[in-house]
Amino acid sequence: MNIVYPLLNVLIALLAAPLMAGIINRVKAFFAGRKGPSLLQLYFDIGKLLRKGAVYSRTTGVFFRLGPPVGLAAVFMALFFIPWGAYPAVLFFPGDLVLFVYLLGTQRFFMILAALDTGSSFEGMGAGRDAQFSVLSEAVLFLCLAVMSAASGSVSLNGMLCSAGGKIWQVSPPVLIVVVFVLYIILLVENYRVPFDDPNTHLELTMIHEVMALDHGGADLAMINYASALKFWILAALPAGLLFPYALNPDFPGNALLFFGIIAATAVLTGIVESGMARLRLLKVPQLLTAAAALSLVALIFLAK
């Protein structure tokens, strides 16, 4: 029974991740007074794309074709290291948080190469901006993980979010609230949401992620969209793991549903933030990320006492 529940949770994540994109779009439509696309729209889109052929640019070579599969493989592997509420992760070892962050970096490396392979100035622009944001966001993510590690005394994601059994909140609640807030900012940056990037526009001046996938089509675009949905789930699972009420009985099967509910609430919150805020000027993004880094440093200084 020990391995079945975690594997079941991974299966639920694989099936339910595209639903989160649907929830976000539905919330945005609600705020805009529209009916909006169906909740299962991303499933239909992925299915439609998988049935299509492919059109490749003549300029591209091997690396354009390598980008989507390797990216999806990396994000898929990262999924196995996240614990699910009260259940431990499928795989864990000391230091797996470093591997986790670098798997996301692998996806970014191959997506940048695929973008530069097309020889298009749009995609180069998106790749350059993505590189800029990632430098700061990865540093902030590591600082957050450092705070969580110092607070929980563990060097594995499993230990930090799950096995501590809620002990982490007894250390210092205000510090962890700040950490949850910073993790949410990282979620917004890494998933290219407002205020960092607008997933709705498809003009080269306002987008970072959408423009990197401009020349992909068919099965490649399906893989990219699915990998983005998985990435949202993974990065939402980090603050969800911190916020999960561990006081509940850990054997209760509804725990998985509760965890799913927290991630869905994160999606709803993202939809509200996207409807309420405008995209930041590109010059302001590093300032916001520096502020996030400063918040994690403040949390660390408070923990050190």
Binding site: S172, P173, P174, Q287, T290, L295, V298, I301
Partner: protein
């Protein structure tokens, strides 16, 4: 709960360092004043209940309502929207704020108090608020930003005073509030006069008043 308020004070510090809009800074001063006004409710002191409530009420009134209101009136008269010229960039200011917090923690660990305070974080946070206030005074050029920095500095000193001298509240409170009021009053008058005379309140251009300059520097 007290720790939460202290963390909120630190976050407000960072926010004031990170924004160049004057109205946002005034709002930060108001929230900080409100938070500091509520701090005495969480300290365990030997004061009877009504006196404590009176102190809290007066502090909230002055720090969170009157002074920010006066600043907003001054802002409207002078018609300054944002800080055009900071000597240090925004990101660097935020990182200096974090460094100030670290320095404050270091200083407070080296200077332990002879008696125990309600929370180990009060003294470092008070020091960091004062350091942030002085940093704002040093790094901004607008006269209104200087007043805001001065108010944040006074907030820090006031927090320090509450933590230590709660036994004799009346004297401390009166001294603090009078100090602040006089400072703001004088600065307010000065700002109006500067503005009326020169049609701007950029203090970095005050050196144009000198007859004698060490080298040739043209007035822009």
């Amino acid at each position: 709960m007290l720790d939460g308020i202290l963390m909120l004070l630190v976050l407000l510090n960072l926010f004031s360092l990170g924004s160049t809009r004057i109205s946002a800074s005034i709002r930060v001063v108001a929230y900080q004043g409100a938070a500091i006004g509520l701090v005495p409710l969480f300290l365990r002191g030997k004061i009877p209940g009504t006196m404590l409530l009176g102190i809290v009420f007066v502090t909230l009134l002055v720090k969170a309502v009157l002074l920010p209101g006066f600043l907003r009136y001054a802002q409207k008269r002078v018609n300054v929207r944002r800080e055009e010229k900071t000597f240090v960039g925004v990101s660097t200011s935020i990182l200096c704020g974090v460094a100030a917090l670290g320095v404050a923690f270091f200083i407070s660990s080296r200077l332990p108090l002879p008696f125990a305070t309600a929370s180990p974080f009060i003294v470092p946070v008070a020091l960091s608020v004062s350091l942030t206030g002085s940093f704002i005074i040093i790094s901004r050029a607008q006269a209104l930003s200087q007043v805001i920095g001065y108010l944040i500095l006074e907030n820090g000193i006031y927090l320090f005073g509450i933590a230590l001298f709660l036994e004799q509240p009346l004297l401390v409170e009166l001294g603090m509030l009078l100090d602040v009021f006089v400072g703001v009053f004088v600065m307010g008058i000065t700002i109006f006069h500067i503005n009326r005379e020169f049609e701007h309140t950029d203090t970095s251009r005050l050196s144009g008043l000198a007859d004698w300059l060490p080298e040739e520097r043209s007035l822009e």
